[in-house]
Amino acid sequence: MTAALRPSPRSDRTWLLVGYAAITSFLMLVFEKNLPAVLQSGLLVLFLANLLFAFQWRAAPWARLVVALGSLIVVLPLVGRQNTGIFDLAIQISIFAALALGLNIVVGLAGLLDLGYVAFFAVGAYLWGIFASPQIGRILGNAGLSSVNPNLFWLFLILAIAAAAIVGIVIGLPVLKLRGDYLAIVTLGLGEVIRVLATNLTKYTNGSQGITPIGSAPVPILNSIANSLGFAPEQFNLFFLYFLVLLIILLVIIVNMRLDRSRIGRAWIAIREDEVAAQAMGIPLVRTKLLAFASGASFAGIMGVVFAAKQQFISPESFNFFQSIGVLSMVILGGMGSIPGVILGATVVTLLNLNLLPALSEQIQGAFPGGLNATLDPAQYQRLVFGIILVLMMLFRPEGLLPNVRRKIEMHEGDGAVGAVDSLGDNAERHANDGALTTGRNIGTDSRSPGLATREENDRTGGEK
């Protein structure tokens, strides 16, 4: 797999790239409409591989730029005109890619396993959902009010960033002192708490009924472009959101890259590798972790707003534990701490779930004229897919499909222990190379692990005065 992705550094693939992109784009534009669902999915995968190649291959910069931008800005909207489903899918993929990039900061850079990440997504989605639907009228007791002014959408994008970051800090403050595995369970619990609140605060969230219809901002310019391209009026919304999402993704990637190479990014990596040493070097632990939590949360918050506007319907079930695991599996599949990897992971997992599995079930359904027993419906087995991804990646390729260069070097200087990735460094564990029965620790394990090293954590040597 990766051998194909990593050609030898000397081969220049400019023309191969351009040729491949041209062929797949042509196929997409001409044949996409008339193919059976499974082949459609396959073609879409081949087409999206453009972006990966444009990123991975050694080619002239102009070719890479043309292929990437052309695919996203020209070809996909044109295909979307014929087939709204593709468009919908592209937006979903982008939403999840941004979510995965946010979680990547928390898990991949700072090494904090957050299993309740979707809670922040819910914060953004409900924030916009409540104000942009008749729900706001119900809350204010003004039945005539069906939404706030849709132009406030832009303000709410900013508000969602702030709100999610605040929730991240509030949730993070009590739990960030916990050791890795406890932190994972507690964040899972907190994620569920948010979901239970969304279900039960019926007055505000309409409970498990969910909120609908949710509006989005009118953008006259884009609408007229969409109109001249022959989009139906009900698709204008998608057209606008698609470009908005691309813009946000771009921003998120830039922020991610800047963070990765900044002082704060290095502090996160230091914490991941060895908390105690990092603290000794003067990194304020709690503040740095909180910052990671809040940054990750804010990405989820802004995407929540977009998600609510796109789906036009939200309910607590969109934000359950399983969704958090889905985002986590995207990060792990692609490679923790690797931006292209995480985007690849999000694309693969979202395509699997929303496109390939349903398309497969359609094919199978078609093969059984009497209809298929729901038990055998592949679309019913998303959990299985996520589970298999998590287990296989952790056992055989813990650094992910497109590993971060630094991470890969770390991996291979290791002690040869299977999967001794430092990407989820557990600072309490030193790899002791003392034979077959290594416990991964040098010194006394106590079965009654305390869950957090009280004395060290409260020892304010970390400069958090």
Partner: protein, 328 residues
């Protein structure tokens, strides 16, 4: 006022039975954590597997003319066997290759295993066209016990099921206590939990002991599953998640790695949950507490999570756990 007394007593009764279910499940978490420092996320599915096996046993035995208690015994043994073996297989395939990896790697693997098992269970029962499995219990189990008058006047209602759950739990605990504290094997397990390397030098096969721990933990999970089925009457492939987290909370509450701690934690959590379920009633009875009315029974799951966070913040080593500081 006159309804508060009976209500509290009822909370005590249901809380204790539920607490014993949590306790038995929590033992599986605590034992595995004790030897491997791993939160066996898949334990919730191991216990659901036990519940499913119990359901199947009762279903198959329903037309058979056997003593009801014998049927229960068969169901329990079948659940113990299947769940125990399943847990050993999971350890062999998914956790053993990751020994020595950073702590979060096996945790993520465990989450993956948990998801795989959920869908496998769904598939297995789905081929029979079932998803929600409703226990077909022998009628004897649902009958009310005839209690002395002064007890019923307090509003206590006990069915045979409740007694059975408590009895099974106590027997299991007694057996486990004997095994861990009074036998050579138990001593070996404790040695491995304390220091795997040294135990290995003393001639203990650590891998075998870890497998054995998983077998015991899984068997306990299986029993817990059948008890869960007795208590709630229905189970499905996804119903392990929340009780799983609660049982883990119970283990942490008592002090993870501590066997009596897991039991204590389970009982405390069961009582707490049932108390939260009726807390809104107190709000309607006592004027100063009227704010409690807003807390409906649906919030009781939150109670467990908040309890977990509070314990970890205030007393991370748990009620009966021994604290130690992590060495670098």
């Amino acid at each position: 006022m006159d309804i508060v007394g009976p209500l509290l007593v009822q909370v005590l009764v249901t809380g204790l039975t539920l607490g014993f279910v949590y306790a038995i499940i929590a033992l599986g978490y605590t034992m595995v954590y004790g030897v491997l420092q791993l939160i066996n996320f898949a334990h919730s599915e191991v216990f659901v597997t036990g519940a499913v096996v119990g359901f199947e046993a009762f279903r198959i035995l329903a037309p058979v003319a056997l003593n009801a208690y014998l049927k229960l015994l068969i169901a329990l043994f079948a659940a113990m066997l299947v769940a125990g073996v399943l847990n050993v297989v999971i350890e062999r395939l998914a956790y053993r290759p990751l020994r020595g990896a950073p702590r979060l790697v096996p945790l993520i693997t465990a989450i993956g295993v948990s998801l795989i098992l959920q869908d496998l269970l769904k598939f297995l029962e789905g081929t029979q066209g079932r998803f929600n499995l409703v226990y077909e219990l022998p009628t004897e189990f649902n009958s009310q016990l005839s209690l002395p008058a002064f007890v019923t006047s307090l509003g206590v209602r006990l069915s045979v099921k409740d007694i059975l759950i408590v009895v099974i739990a106590l027997l299991m605990l007694a057996f486990l206590n004997y095994l861990v504290n009074r036998t050579r094997v138990g001593r070996a397990i404790r040695a491995v939990a304390q220091d795997r390397t040294t135990a290995g030098l003393m001639g203990i096969d650590a891998n075998r002991m870890i497998a054995l721990t998983f077998l015991i933990g899984g068997a306990l999970g299986g029993v817990g599953g059948v008890m869960f089925g007795l208590q709630f009457g229905t189970v499905n492939a996804y119903s392990g998640i929340i009780p799983g987290i609660k049982a883990f909370t119970a283990a942490v509450l008592g002090g993870i790695g501590s066997i009596p701690g897991a039991v204590l934690g389970g009982l405390v959590l069961g009582l707490l949950e049932n108390f939260l379920g009726i807390i809104s009633i107190f709000g309607s009875l006592f004027q100063p507490l009227s704010f409690l009315q807003a807390i409906g029974a649906e919030y009781k799951d939150i109670g467990a999570f908040l309890a977990l966070i509070l314990i970890l913040m205030l007393k991370p080593q748990g009620l009966l756990g021994r604290g130690n500081t992590e060495k670098v």
